[in-house]
């Protein structure tokens, strides 16, 4: 430890000799600490502690600590920030990663639609999303949650079953699955499943690869059930953004609600505010095997996170800002997921909004999602 400030600083006693004081003689040895004095002392102590603490850590960590809000950074500062983060990522995963900060596509306004009448609940989107966006495998965070509902009851959230065809499936009528816990919690997928995510074309023709017919296997879609995958609804009136006390989350011009993981203080107000359960907190240090890291990253999207911050779906910002579909759209074997520009009258999403029966989740809350569910039959 370096030098501490002396406590019998003469400034602390200056207010003690005011007109209200009864004491006759000056007593410099017993100073009364009033509010202002205390704050002075505390800030002086904090500063004297912080400076040596900061100078003790390396250049990168210091710069990271003293940086300003993302919106206040000049282009040069952003470049420096990205360089620091890339170096961090390399240190952590031993791989060269690129972190881009590409701004929104001019005049684009993203929209997403999901065909509930087509979704079969195969969860390929969930795991493709985990892989693309470097979501932690253990503890497990998945931005997409696929809920199973009864066709007779409709969308009834308390009845939702997210664990269908798994070891925690409480559905008594469902065929029981022989469950084998993954040997390595860091990579829960088997070889075949990994291959599908690597090259989705091998799942076609779909009817020939329908491997779920076996006696012990649980196959989807199950009789009398339907599936509603839920992820961030990218609200135009996002309650999560409203409650953030530090502006660590905001709406981008193309409509994507993003989080600056370096600015997030982990208060989880946004999680309480989100009516869709779409935000996820890193309760533990996120773990991804270095070999599974997607090195193509965006600052506001899939770059590595730390323990204690909140994360969420960003429409695969690193893909969508480069013209690509989000990975969930690309991997969906039945084509139930649609993505596009609401401003483009030729886009699929506009066709859906103009021609199909569209459902908005929890519409009564006036969150005005950019995510629509629709029926095509």
């Amino acid at each position: 430890m370096k030098k501490r400030p002396t406590t019998n600083d003469s400034r602390l006693t200056t207010h003690d000799s005011g007109p209200g004081t009864q004491d006759s003689g000056p007593e410099p040895s017993a100073p009364a600490l009033d509010r202002r004095g205390f704050i002075r002392l505390a800030s002086a102590a904090a500063a004297s502690l912080a400076i040596p603490a900061l100078s003790a850590c390396d250049e990168r960590a210091r710069a990271q600590f003293l940086r300003r809000h993302f919106h206040e950074l000049s282009p040069e500062e952003v470049k420096g920030l990205v360089k620091r983060l890339e170096a961090d990522a390399k240190e952590r995963f031993g791989r060269d990663c690129t972190i881009e900060t590409k701004p929104a596509v001019q005049d684009a306004s993203f929209g997403y639609a999901l065909d509930i009448s087509r979704c079969i609940g195969c969860r390929r989107c969930v795991h493709a999303c985990v892989k693309e966006n470097n979501e932690t495998r253990d503890p497990e965070i998945q931005w997409i949650k696929v809920l199973e509902f009864h066709k007779d009851h409709g969308i009834d959230f308390p009845e939702a079953n997210p664990y269908y065809c798994g070891p925690n499936d409480e559905d008594q009528n469902a065929p029981k699955t022989e469950y084998k816990a993954p040997e390595n919690p860091l990579s829960p997928l088997n070889k075949k499943q990994k291959a599908i995510l690597e090259n989705q074309d091998i799942q076609y023709p779909l009817y020939q690869k329908a491997d779920g017919g076996g006696s012990n296997q649980c196959a989807v879609p199950r009789q009398g059930r339907f599936y509603v995958p839920i992820s961030c609804q990218q609200c135009r009136n996002p309650p999560c953004v409203k409650v953030c006390p530090v502006k660590a989350t905001w709406k981008e011009p193309d409509g994507i609600v993003v989080v600056d993981y370096d600015w997030c203080i982990g208060c989880r107000y946004c999680m309480a505010a989100c009516p869709y359960g779409a935000r996820h907190f890193n309760w533990g240090e996120p773990q991804v095997a270095p070999g599974d890291i997607n090195p193509k990253m965006h600052y506001l999207g899939n770059r590595p996170r730390r323990k204690g911050v909140v994360e969420k779906c960003t429409f695969c910002i690193q893909r969508s800002r480069n013209g690509q579909y989000p990975v969930c759209v690309e991997v969906c074997p039945v084509g139930a997921r649609k993505f596009g520009d609401l401003e483009d009258p030729e886009s699929e999403i506009r066709y859906i909004l103009e021609h199909k029966r569209v459902l908005i989740l929890k519409n009564e809350l006036n969150t005005r999602p950019r995510f629509f569910y629709f029926y095509s039959v």
Partner: protein, 196 residues
């Protein structure tokens, strides 16, 4: 009373104007006045969406070209159980009213035949499906039915009907799902509200 009827009238007029305006917009759109539409984001985006790129049709291995076997055979149009070849085909596609040669061309076996008699390649089988499944074909062309990959504002790749649907038995077959999520310890699942 009078006030409210007046305001209703006013609302009516406003609604009417909006309707007329909306309709005129609509007809202008259909008449193809290009200047009304905002320009596409990237050059050639609009034209690219109209082009249909599909991966090759999903033939069973070694089955194509059909003419390899069929060229010397005499065509037997009779409805019958196939016992020698194609025994794996389960035919559940309006099988009461249809038979092989309603879609497969009896002459040049490497082609499909439309109701009009026109011959098409297997790459364009969607034309054949679209003869009966009009609304679905319309959705498919718009990119809404079926899978699309590529770029949201540029070149896209369409999958054929036969990539997902078995043409002889088109209902989607159940498949094994990827692993279920692990439940958080000691907590029931909650989605922005009380769980069970």
């Amino acid at each position: 009373m009078r006030n409210s009827s007046l305001s209703f009238g006013a609302i009516g007029i406003v609604m009417g104007t909006i309707l007329v305006w909306a309709c005129s917009e609509d007809t202008a759109e259909h008449a193809g006045t290009a200047d009304k539409k905002p320009a596409p984001k990237t050059a050639g985006a609009a034209s690219a969406t109209r082009e249909v790129h599909t991966p090759p049709p999903p033939f069973t291995e070694g089955i194509f070209p059909c003419s390899e076997c069929h060229k010397d055979m005499e065509t037997n149009p009779a409805r019958r159980d196939l016992t020698d070849e194609h025994t794996g085909i389960v035919f559940e596609h309006d099988s009461k009213n249809r038979w092989c040669l309603d879609c497969h061309n009896p002459g040049d076996r490497d082609k499909l035949r439309l109701a009009s008699g026109a011959l098409i390649d297997f790459e364009h089988s969607y034309l054949l499906c679209g003869q009966c499944h009009g609304p679905t074909y319309r959705d498919w062309k718009a990119g809404v039915h079926g899978k699309r990959t590529g770029e949201w504002n540029g070149e896209k790749r369409y999958y054929l009907c036969a990539h997902c649907h078995n043409p002889h038995s088109p209902r989607i077959k159940p498949i094994a799902p990827f692993p279920a999520p692990r439940p958080p310890e000691g907590r029931p699942f909650i989605l922005g509200g009380p769980g069970k």
